[in-house]
């Protein structure tokens, strides 16, 4: 019997790693992968709670999160390709035309 909090801590660690990756990394694809890492951490919490409360709605939610993550990944990567074509770089610090 593993206490639920262990699962939640694991999910939290994954989430924190994702945020750190987002803040530290310079390559835009790596940043995207950190986002996926964050989503996974959240999915773990959902499933953990679904197990504890014996409610399947948690897993349904995970299902939806995955679908959305997939869609987001597809569109986001397409955008990255498009940006790469114009900017010739994958360094996020150099894509800063929106500055005031």
């Amino acid at each position: 019997m593993v206490p639920l909090s262990y699962y939640l801590i694991l999910g939290g660690i994954l989430f924190a790693c994702g945020v750190t990756g987002f803040l530290i990394k310079r390559n835009i694809i790596t940043i995207f992968m950190s986002i996926e890492l964050m989503l996974n951490g959240v999915n773990l919490s959902f499933v953990a709670f679904a197990a504890q409360w014996h409610a399947l709605q948690g897993q349904v939610f995970v299902f939806f999160v995955m679908v959305v993550a997939a869609a987001e990944a597809a569109v986001g990567l397409a955008i990255i390709i498009s940006v790469f074509r114009t900017r010739e770089t994958l360094n996020v610090d150099q894509v800063n035309l929106l500055k005031l």
């Binding site: 019997m1 750190t20 992968m33 996974n40 995970v62 993550a69 987001e72």
Partner: protein
């Protein structure tokens, strides 16, 4: 006991993969670490009794999304990261903020959450129940999600299409 051992092993693998993602400089290494993370998360789901979710995790996440990532990395021929001037704000504000948030959540979870323990594989019902929920109570979100996927496909195609060359 058995539960705890498996949980710890694969939990460590998860965390190692995540840290490796942060540490590696070449994006392809980060992508492969992420695949490792996905895989061990699938095992964790199995431990929690979510077979269907574990299967979907492997098939969709590790099998499709990560493949997509790898394809794009190879397509764009992404190289090692250069060290360029970063953002001071991100480091000064973001890291401490993230730390504070995590510690707070951990504190809440550990001391105040009132959660109990979970038995291995303890979950109500087979995937049939899940299907029932999905196609009955959550039918509308399900259909909307399929439209969302359709839109995402169209968007991706349009965005990534090579710009047409005008003929002379």
């Amino acid at each position: 006991m058995f539960h705890l051992i498996i949980f710890s092993v694969f939990g460590l693998v998860c965390v190692a993969g995540a840290v490796n993602l942060l540490v590696q400089r070449h994006p392809i290494n980060s992508a492969l670490s992420l695949v490792v993370v996905m895989g061990s998360l699938a095992v964790e789901y199995l431990l929690l009794g979510a077979e269907f979710v574990a299967a979907v995790q492997v098939i969709v996440y590790a099998g499709a999304i990560m493949v997509l990532f790898v394809f794009v990395i190879m397509l764009l021929n992404a190289g090692e990261e250069e060290r360029t001037q970063g953002s001071r704000v991100a480091l000064l504000l973001g890291i401490p903020g993230m730390l504070v948030g995590s510690i707070l959540i951990a504190w809440v979870v550990l001391y105040h959450s009132g959660t109990g323990a979970v038995a291995i594989g303890a979950l109500p019902g087979p995937p049939k129940t899940l299907g029932w929920l999905l196609f009955h109570d959550f039918l509308l979100p399900f259909e909307v999600t399929s439209i969302l996927v359709l839109i995402a496909i169209m968007g991706a195609v349009v965005l990534a299409a090579r710009p047409e060359k005008r003929e002379g």
